[in-house]
């Protein structure tokens, strides 16, 4: 019998009001479904003591052992290999689009919350940044229990704002995250592709491992509109009369080229890229994250 919480339809998650509960539902369902997975190779259990070696952080010295043995020992845990996870959520106006009721922004919030919760479970420090054409909210990465609530609340508060301009806020975020870690960018990447890559590269140059989740609605991917219509740009409010059947194939090609561009460029710059269809469950994003996390350590 399939796990009840696994592959939860994103639309179903919308009925859960608490973002924390959403995150827990997704992550625990995900973990329980993966407990036999070979990817699950880390632990937070005590590993060993080892003698202090010059250069070790003196804060890791177990002072109780020193009191008893008058020796410096450093206590090591498997789980102590934690890192900082920075969740960057695009809250530009274009993210407010959702053809099936579930907006990309909401989907991104679920994704960010789930990733944050998941990271917290691994004792990674979690930070959160929302941005559109500038940084809207910045929550630095910390690993305390209370901090998770802060992050989740920040995620929940995020609302669609202004126009997309990914390059500038990404550069700014790169400047502000001094500690290396994993930077997860959740965005529709609706900006000039070279400018987007420029911003992402700034993040990567700072020593971060960058994971890019491009969140797109199925309507954006397939452009399955039937009747001719006046299309209104969510960000600029510009209008354009479009007969879908005339432009569909060319639109799809342009979209495929755009996605291929990001895939190719991210791979070249050692960044992970994943296209997330908002009609699909969140598992794929979590897998991507896990895979990255495992590669790191």
């Amino acid at each position: 019998m399939p796990q009840p919480t696994r592959f939860i339809d994103p639309a179903a998650l919308m009925r859960i009001s608490s973002l924390e509960l959403v995150a827990r539902t997704v992550v625990e369902g995900f973990i329980s479904g993966l407990h036999r997975s070979p990817h699950l190779g880390f632990s937070v259990d005590f590993a060993e003591y080892r003698p202090y070696r010059p250069g070790d952080d003196i804060r890791k010295i177990d002072w109780k052992v020193y009191a008893r043995l008058d020796r410096f020992f450093v206590k090591e845990y498997e789980g102590e290999t934690n890192t900082s996870i920075h969740l960057l959520l695009d809250c530009s106006r274009s993210m407010a689009y959702g053809s099936g009721g579930l907006q990309k922004l909401v989907y991104g919030q679920y994704l960010a919350a789930s990733l944050g919760y998941f990271a917290f479970k691994q004792r990674d420090g979690v930070g959160f940044v929302s941005f559109d054409d500038e940084v809207r909210e910045f929550v630095p990465a910390r690993g305390s229990v209370g901090h998770l609530n802060t992050v989740l609340h920040a995620i929940e508060r995020t609302a669609a704002g202004g126009r997309s301009d990914l390059a500038q806020p990404l550069v700014a975020i790169a400047e502000r995250t001094r500690r290396r870690g994993i930077v997860i960018v959740i965005s529709d990447l609706y900006d000039e592709a070279p400018r987007v890559m420029e911003g992402l590269r700034h993040l990567a140059f700072r020593g971060n491992d960058v994971i890019v989740f491009q969140v797109l609605d199925p309507a954006e991917l397939h452009f399955d509109f039937e009747a001719s219509a006046q299309f209104v740009d969510l960000e600029t409010r510009a209008e354009m009369h479009v007969i879908p059947e005339f432009v569909r194939e060319e639109y799809r090609k342009i979209m495929r080229d755009q996605i291929a561009f990001f895939e190719r460029e991210c791979q070249r710059d050692r960044m992970d890229y994943a296209l997330i269809d908002t009609s699909q469950p969140l598992d794929r994003a979590l897998f991507t994250y896990l895979l990255k996390r495992e590669q790191l350590y």
Binding site: Y190, E220, F225, F231, E235, H241, V242, F246, I254
Partner: protein, 702 residues
């Protein structure tokens, strides 16, 4: 441009429907919020433009189809009452009527006429049209109405030729009128270019008038001063009795015109060789008779040409004729021997009727029945069984063989007294019987004044055909006191009857031969026909029929229609070529030895050149002499002004183009309105195009 159904103009409003639909559809378009238009903007503008163009094209096709449909129902027509150009010039239709009859060959008339025709073509103005017609007694539309004046000039210079045909104005003007009327509206001008020859205006055409509104421009190339010689009224006579054997050729030399001519040479050529000539003087307007004594000609057909020397008009100088000579046909009258010396034989009147020195083709010889031997009769001879008695089986066989071989036989049965003899000799092989005399038969005694009359003649039969014309002889005066009562069987035909219904003359055939049975006597014993003037012609005709002689004419006139096969058939009969196969191809050559096309399925040819036509098959050859029409040689000049006035309708000259005449003919009206068909077709084409384009949008979007 006007419309037959102008109310349909309201239908043009329907053209707004597609536009309205397009606008409404556009206004009601959905508004869809979309994250970004940047990708849509990148979609090829060319594609979008193309699609827009296609949409506009679709809209255009719909509008056009509606407009054309409405236009078709409007039934537009051209309404150009006066084809006035911007300069005020009224477009005209010029119909050039060029006379190419024989008389136009006189002096320089033809050259002047052609120059005049060229001048008309050169004088054309923009919008004018011109047609070229040539006429004699036939009219040919050489170039129909068009604006190609250069083509008209070209035809005048190189294509139009003089003919030997006579002039007929009325039929030419009728054709020209029809061509002019085809021009529709505007001025219609007929340019008649001719010599206004008086003889071309026949009395029966006096009533002809051109339709009103047609102008007539005349170019008169004729003249009151002329002189033309021609030969006519040629007759062939046998030499007078006692003269040397031969023929006399009488002719008339006519001097049309107003100039005395001196020492005019007249020549006679026989079979292409000059035979004799003479010179004579002839006064203006005079007719002078002449005669050539022809030497004894060999039997057969001869080409004879009489030619007068006249350089001013060469085409009518020659008179041609075919002259056929042959020996007299032997006729044997088989009869009983005279009962006593000094009495007239039964063939007495026949010999008087047939053995005349002039005009008769026959030489009658009496043969007693006892000495009759058909094997001794030469080929081509005829036999008259003249109420002879006796005759056994041997005679019957001989006569039967004679007729079966193609011989001609006349059996005379005076009355029923000879019935037994007749039935014995002829009853077994001819489909006739003679009834024996009965008691109630009419009296044989002339004193009783009981007689029968010859009536009910078959006038369409060659024997009686010459007597069908008025004053050509009457049989009514002849009284038949006695006659034989003949009963006919199948195969016999009565050509004449007595007034009591009994057959008088019966035709019966046997193989190739023909037999005529005359139910009375050939002398005056049973009737008084021999005492009547018609006796000799009647017997001549009967023998002509048996001898296959037709009333040949020596020549025909231009414009006649001849049957080449008939000529060949007559030639074959005269030459005794009974086995001539006339089913084979017949070739007709004109005087210039060019082959005359014979229309498929037609057995006739119209001759239009003077001279000798030749008709040929593989084994037969006949010549036909063709002469110009004598009246065409009379160049008497008419008053062109008077003639033209006679042709024009009253008032036409005062008001050349009457408003009433602008009313088009039904054909013209139909032609003007024909545009609706094209409009309907165009509308359908647009609808088909719209359907195809629309289907492409639906089924195969880009």
């Amino acid at each position: 441009m006007s419309f037959v159904n102008p109310l349909f103009l309201l239908g043009a409003l329907a053209a707004g429907i597609p536009i309205l639909l397009h606008l409404i559809k556009r206004e009601r378009a959905l508004r869809i919020e979309f994250p970004t238009l940047m990708f849509l903007r990148r979609v090829s503008k060319k594609t979008i433009r193309y699609q827009k163009v296609r949409h506009l094209l679709l809209l255009l096709l719909r509008i056009l189809s509606i407009l054309f449909l409405v236009s078709a129902f409007l039934r537009p027509y051209r309404d150009i009452p006066r084809a006035a150009t911007a300069s005020g010039h009224v477009a005209a239709a010029h119909v050039v009527l060029l006379d190419n009859s024989l008389s136009m060959a006189y002096a320089d008339r033809w050259d002047r006429a052609r120059r005049a025709a060229e001048d008309v073509a050169a004088g054309m103005r923009p919008g004018d049209k011109i047609a070229l017609l040539e006429f004699s007694d036939q009219t040919l539309v050489r170039l129909p109405l068009s604006d190609r004046s250069a083509a008209v000039v070209e035809d005048i210079r190189h294509a139009v030729q003089l003919t030997d045909r006579p002039t007929r104005y009325a039929q030419a003007l009728k054709v020209a009128e029809k061509v002019a009327l085809d021009a529709g509206t505007g001025r219609r001008v007929i340019h008649i270019i001719c010599d206004f020859q008086k003889s071309g205006w026949a009395a029966e055409e006096q009533e002809f008038r051109l339709g009103s509104g047609i102008e007539l421009e005349r170019v008169d190339v004729g003249s009151d001063e002329f002189s033309n010689l021609t030969i006519g009224d040629v007759r062939v006579l046998e030499a007078a009795e006692g003269a040397e054997a031969g023929l006399r050729l009488k002719y008339s030399l006519v001097n049309f015109g107003n100039e005395d001519r001196r020492s005019v040479r007249i020549g006679l050529a026989l079979d292409g060789r000059p035979a004799m000539e003479r010179r004579t003087d002839i006064e203006r307007g005079g007719v002078q008779a002449g005669e050539f004594q022809l030497p004894g000609l060999t039997a057969g057909a001869h080409q004879v040409v009489l030619e007068v020397e006249d350089t001013r008009l060469l085409r009518d100088n020659r008179y041609t004729m075919m002259l056929e000579t042959r020996g007299r046909t032997q006729v044997f009258s088989v009869e009983d021997a005279a009962s006593s010396p000094g009495t007239r034989s039964a063939g007495y009147f026949l010999s008087r009727a047939l053995n005349i020195p002039v005009w008769s083709r026959y030489q009658l010889t009496g043969v007693p029945v006892a000495r009759f031997d058909s094997s001794a009769i030469p080929q081509g001879a005829l036999v008259i069984w003249n109420n002879a008695s006796g005759g056994g089986a041997g005679v019957q066989k001989k006569l039967q063989d004679f007729v079966g071989a193609g011989g001609g036989l006349v059996v005379v049965v005076a009355d029923g007294a000879r019935a037994a003899d007749f039935n014995r000799v002829f009853g077994s092989w001819l489909p006739v019987r003679v009834e024996p005399p009965s008691r109630d038969a009419r009296s044989a005694d002339r004193r009783g004044e009981e007689y029968a009359l010859l009536t009910d003649l078959k006038l369409d039969h060659p024997i009686f055909r010459p007597f069908g014309e008025p004053h050509s002889g009457s049989f009514a005066a002849a009284r038949f006191y006695r006659h034989a009562r003949i009963t006919l069987s199948e195969g016999a035909q009565a050509l004449a009857h007595y007034d009591n219904g009994d057959p008088a003359l019966v035709l019966a055939g046997r193989d190739k031969g023909k037999v005529l049975i005359f139910a009375s006597s050939a002398d005056d014993s049973a009737n008084d026909l021999p005492l009547k003037a018609i006796f000799a012609p009647f017997w001549q005709q009967m023998l002509h029929y048996l001898d296959n002689v037709s009333e040949e004419s020596h020549s025909v006139e231009i414009g006649s229609t001849i049957s080449p096969r008939r000529y060949l058939l007559e030639t074959a009969l005269r030459q005794a070529k009974g086995n001539a196969d006339l089913n084979q191809a017949v070739v007709v050559l004109d005087p210039s030895k060019r082959r005359v096309p014979v229309a498929a399925g037609s057995d006739t040819v119209m001759v239009d050149k003077a001279g000798f036509y030749e008709v040929r098959t593989a084994n037969l050859n006949a010549s036909i002499a063709v002469n110009t029409v004598p009246r065409e040689s009379n160049l008497t000049h008419g008053n062109s002004e008077e003639m033209a006035a006679g042709w024009l309708s009253p008032g036409t000259r005062a008001e050349p183009v009457a408003a009433a005449d602008e009313r088009p003919t039904p054909e013209e009206q139909d032609r003007r309105q024909r545009m609706w068909r094209w409009l309907l077709l165009a509308a359908l084409a647009f609808l088909v195009g719209e359907a195809l384009l629309a289907n492409q949008f639906i089924l195969k979007p880009d």
